[in-house]
Symmetry: C2
Subunit: 322 residues, 2 copies
């Protein structure tokens, strides 16, 4: 039993509708009505797997929405409406539900849109299912790897959320950047402004949000274009000085945290080579960063350049049931 | 902590959008794009509360979808697309997931539409969140009680699913109708053809599906029109001969099962008085039944006529966390 097998089984249930703009394995689904694209994404957060003990319920509520907003962000679509289904334990009480609601409220202040309905249930393991939808004039950006020479870029540093998780789990010594990393883990940002700007500028060959880790995200971009024998060479790891210091103090491999840590919601974008300058500019204009980390190569797989050598990046990251 | 309080809290998070065709408390949400209405509903099924031990996973999967289709049915909208989020226990295994998928498949064969995406998670308490959406030329039917003299009608008998539940729970003696009642409980039908026919014929003042019981459904119709001092007088209980016999053999009150049993997905429709004949006709034409059970009165509350007396029907039925 593994997540990918389950997803393939779900796909096999019915014929996928021809009017779809994104494929079944993409993070959202979309179709066109007249001149508008209508894009929908759904994401479920489950307490026993996705929530570290001791996390405030505000953070949990906010993160449940951020994770769904992030899916739309990678498509370049602004969320307009949300439906939220709750599976709540009795123990949570109204106090807990109010904390969740404050979290939802925070996400709405940050990303816009409004809650238009949902469902409430009792459960032994809290679950929050958020379905987000939005409309856009531009077609939603697909997962995809583009062509040789295209630029692979990300919207922020990686690994700090994973460092935050290690702090939450008491796996490491205290650190002077404790607050920074905890913040990265507890209050991750969806890169909505960046995703929308990149989509509008029509500079992307493909995009994905990186919630399962940088390595797996890049593999997902490659896989979505089937057997086209393309790959990615990484020339630069998006790792902050602070994380490097944290890793050296705690005897951790920054490469491990950056490539496989997960828990971020950065975008991993493939930018058409000749539009790189424009891509950088439009992201800067909305207050974001676009960091070039590598390029698309005609060689299946993901490779990291360390000095003069190319090391293969493992296909590993967060998968359920493993 | 109770379900209604939680729903009110969720409503208070943001301003409800002006373009909405259905209110927040309705079973679905809808807005208009050009000349089409776009209607969405989400429903979560949780194993520990909604699934009786021993239920086959095919039934669970099918029911999760039926429950969402039923919400759209009450709006008169045919489901076109589904997003399904799964929270699965490890114990279920691929065999179990395949059984769930067969259930989804059954529902799709019965009601049309197709699965276009979703999310997969690990959970300690299985949950299935189905978001259904459809488009229609006719505006979605609201919850609402209409005006004095309007006919209150249902699309089938009540109480048999509740009888099936009692059989599943071994609360009653075996019965010659055992298979019939188990079927009503395990394979409830969403009244999609009926709902669509009634909506197209423009004969309804309001409609709801009755998953929380007949009594509560009628109260919900009344409540949704706010303080208009209207109520319902029931002249007839939609109870089959088979259920009457089952109740007498098992020393049960049929009134209890019919009014408060729940677990059905029949429609409770308010038909404009002068359009009753047409309503009956269009439902018959799609192979369904429309049973008149009472009428709208200018007297807040729900009343049942027993002989010459009017007995108040209690506001009670399935509510979470109570």
């Amino acid at each position: 039993m593994n997540e990918d097998e389950i997803i393939r089984l779900m796909k096999s249930i019915n014929k996928f509708p021809a009017e779809s703009r994104l494929n079944f394995y993409d993070d959202a689904w979309s179709f066109k009505i007249n001149n508008e694209y209508f894009t929908i994404s759904t994401d479920m957060l489950v307490a026993s797997t996705d929530v570290v003990q001791g996390t405030r319920l505000e953070c949990v509520g906010r993160k449940a929405m951020v994770s769904s907003v992030s899916d739309l962000s990678s498509k370049g679509v602004r969320p307009k409406y949300y439906m939220i289904s709750l599976g709540l334990t009795r123990e949570i009480g109204m106090r807990g539900v109010r904390a969740l609601a404050r979290g939802f409220s925070m996400a709405i202040r940050e990303y816009g849109g409004c809650i238009v309905g949902g469902d409430t249930n009792e459960s032994k393991d809290m679950s929050i299912c958020v379905t987000s939808f939005g409309t856009s004039k531009d077609p939603p950006v697909r997962r995809g790897i583009g062509k040789e020479g295209d630029v692979v870029a990300v919207t922020g540093d990686f690994g700090e959320a994973a460092a935050g998780l290690k702090i939450m789990m008491n796996e490491v010594r205290d650190d002077i950047y404790r607050r920074r990393f905890l913040r990265a883990f507890l209050f991750p940002k969806a890169r909505l402004a960046e995703g929308v700007a990149l989509s509008r500028a029509k500079v992307l060959s493909g995009c994905i949000d990186s919630s399962d880790g940088l390595a797996l995200s890049i593999y997902s971009l490659i896989d979505s274009d089937g057997g086209n024998d393309m790959g990615v060479r990484l020339d630069f790891l998006p790792c902050s000085k602070e994380l490097e210091r944290f890793c050296s103090e705690n005897d951790l491999d920054p490469l491990e945290l950056v490539l496989y840590g997960g828990e971020e919601y950065e975008l991993v974008a493939v930018v058409e080579k000749e539009r790189w300058r424009m891509a950088e500019r439009v992201v800067r204009k909305v207050g974001g960063r676009l960091i070039k980390i590598g390029e698309v190569v005609h060689d299946r797989g993901v490779w990291l350049r360390i000095g003069r050598e190319l090391v293969e990046v493992k296909r590993r990251g967060w998968r359920h049931f493993t």
